[in-house]
Amino acid sequence: MSSAPQPSLDLCAQEPIRIPGGIQPHGALLFLDEVDFRVLQQSANAASILGGSLTEKGMPISEDERLTPLLGALRDARLQPSETLQKRVLLSDAWFQVTAHSTLQGLMLEFEPDSSLGGGELFYTRLRRFVDAAEEYDSILSLTEAAAREVRELTGFNRVMIYRFDADWTGTVIAEDGDGTLPSYLDLRFPATDIPAQARELYRLNRIRLIPSATYEPVPLIPAVSPKDGQPSDLSLAALRSVSPIHLEYMRNMGTGASMSISLIVEGRLWGLISCHNEAPLYVPPAGRNAAEFLGRIVSQQIASQERGRESVQRLGFKRLETELVAHLSRAPSFQQGLVERPRQWLGMTNADGAAVVTEGMVLTTGAVPDTSVIKQLADWLHAKELDGPFATDHLAAEWHGGATISAVASGILAVPISRIHPSFIIWFRPEVVRTVRWGGNPHKAVDDKSMRIHPRKSFETWKEQVKQRSEPWRLSEIHSAGDFRNAVVNFVLKRAEERAELTSELERSNKELESFSYSISHDLRAPFRHILGYAQLLGEEEGEQLKSISRHYLEGISNAALSAGQLVDDLLRFSQLGRASLNLSRIDMQKIAEEIRLSFEDGDQGRNFVWKIGTLPDGYGDAALVRQAFYNLADNAVKYTRDRDPAVIEISGEDAGEEMIYSVRDNGVGFDMAYSGKLFQVFQRLHHVEDYEGTGIGLALSKRIIDRHGGSITAEGQLDRGATFSFSLPKPRKVRVQ
């Protein structure tokens, strides 16, 4: 999300600013041994500022009575690293502000002349007034404007700016107060390289920083390295720390003779700076600096509470939209559909102009979005990132090669993954917003090409740049909102998947039940019919001679009823088993089957006169036993419904129709009304009375089921009293590898 052009070499970041080897000349610095307070190191000006007796190298300063209260306080405080102790001491008729830090290289004491007796009370009154007023400011802008005014009055700088960092560490001057001596930088933007990362880190550690003169001569430490560890002394925490020559050059280029920075730290992060500049050198005494630092803390807290307040108001709004949407999703047939049906909530939860949901190659959208094909490519690109949470950019073109072509509607995207395995995303889009950024000097000209050494730019004249292919940046609350919604959707999708799995296992269970049901039918329901038939036959044989003809008729009735019931059970079972039985696929000699079928009918033709016409049938491919059954049922039908024809003409034919083989059975029987053709293949559907044509009504349904299972189709054509033609097809095997 970088929005500032970067110099190709960020050399500033390599400056040894923690160990500059010297201090600014407006005070003196000592490193003492923590135990006996011997002087380990001293700034070269220590003797002249503090008086010789105090600082002779190696002499324990505990023997200097003037310092007894200070040393006592130090002993009592037992400073921990990063803790500070401040005390005013009187040395040779002059007051000094002493600041002490505990470091790995000894106790670091900074002495600064401080004649501002009583100034603290004045500052205190001012600060209290500022704190009271700060509660009233309802925006960060009005708060920071007031802070700039207050700091300028406290310190007397020509210009005080409030400098706010963006996410990419470029900075913008959002508020300013000045007396007109120095030019206004209000609304100007400064590149991230102006304040490099390590400098920002020092601003975080050390909340106030004064450079009274941009032209000072640094005062070296003696000796140059710490006697404790042989390393250069770390002056990170020293207020007097000498600054980088590049920074001084930067100040001079800016036309400033003195500067002071107060850090604004919000929730542990360097939010911005109160940046003060003076044309001429300017010294701010310790009391004024303390007041300014304190003010910085107040402003930081106020910013934090304002941001939190704004954030929570926004979050509340987003949460409400999310709740509405999730409630709707739970009623929708699918969550994708649900999203599309609630565009206001879907777009509102991230303040987007368009949105899309991509799942398993399906794209549903609302509002202003790119073409579906581009959205799919975008999803694939996002998928390759293996994201865990939301992905947001306000400059898609810089990140994705396909971004430039869709920048009109999709300069900004906010995407959340909703599957780990598939490229499934919810993506929000924001259109391009062409903006003009006013830079404080041309940020592209930071590097001196000849020397390959970085120089701060010499001109801070406003340099305008038009920024394209950018959208409004996504706020943190919007990104959080997307993340929260993602979790809700993922849970929702998971729940649906679980429900589906439950349904599947439920189906499997009831399928199993059905299987065992039909298994038990095949054994238990079938047996009694067999027994009835058996006993009826035995009775007939035993009593055959004695039976009256009516009794014999009854016995036949019993036998017929049991037989047809038994056949019904058999047919039903065969039908139900078909769905489960595995197909034993092979090449089938259909010609042979047709001949066998004809023979089986001729065996029992009961004196009927048949004309069988069997054409040339190509081989088929399938389960031979089942296909034979299907074929047989069709022929059986033809035989049955030509009962009153003399002769009954039955034609069996076959043809190769390219992708499949087609076989037909044609007869000259009673035919049927095509209006009922749809019912022909349904179980128990009969078009004729049972008395006229026997059968269980399952034969054609069975044939259809067999052909269906082979991936073929079965059709019937007929005309009442003019015969019927039944045809079925068998697909050829996909791979031409037939046994």
Binding site: R526, A527, P528, R530, H531, L533, Y535, A562, L563
Partner: protein
């Protein structure tokens, strides 16, 4: 005397027993017919155990075995017999109402000698029983008697 060894009919349904006996009788099969009413009785008979510990050690000419049986079912009986080194050669015919594919498959995998689905029609049933009786009890080479 070959062919005069008993036929073991394993069947729990009384009607089926009666009808099968009638069918065998009509086929003039003179072999003694021993009826076992469940899988346990069948195994006892075949392995000469329990109530049949003292029976004539002649193995049955053929076992007509129903699939669905109380206690130990037909498939289990089949597996036990066919897994036994000595009795595995006793011919076993599954007589069952079932057309279940899995049953048929499993029976053949367990080494059944024949599998007959009892037809509903009595004549067909009669024919099937007669054929079975002839093939397995009369014509088939008898299994050598148990050697001492």
């Amino acid at each position: 005397m070959i062919g005069m060894r008993p036929i073991l009919l394993v069947e729990d349904n009384a009607a089926d027993i009666e009808l099968t006996m009638a069918a065998l009788k009509r086929s003039n099969i003179a072999n003694e017919i021993v009826v076992a009413r469940d899988g346990v009785q069948a195994l006892d008979y075949i392995f000469s155990e329990g109530a049949y510990a003292d029976r004539d050690p002649e193995p049955p000419a053929v076992v007509l075995l129903d699939l669905k049986l109380p206690k130990v079912n037909g498939l289990e009986v089949l597996e036990k017999v066919k897994a036994h080194p000595e009795h595995r050669s006793i011919p076993i015919v599954m007589l069952t109402s079932s057309r279940e594919e899995t049953d048929v498959l499993q029976s053949y995998q367990s080494g059944v000698n024949s599998f007959v689905v009892k037809p509903v029609e009595f004549n067909a049933f009669f024919q099937a029983i007669r054929d079975l009786g002839m093939v397995w009890a009369v014509l088939n080479e008898p299994v050598p008697a148990k050697r001492p």
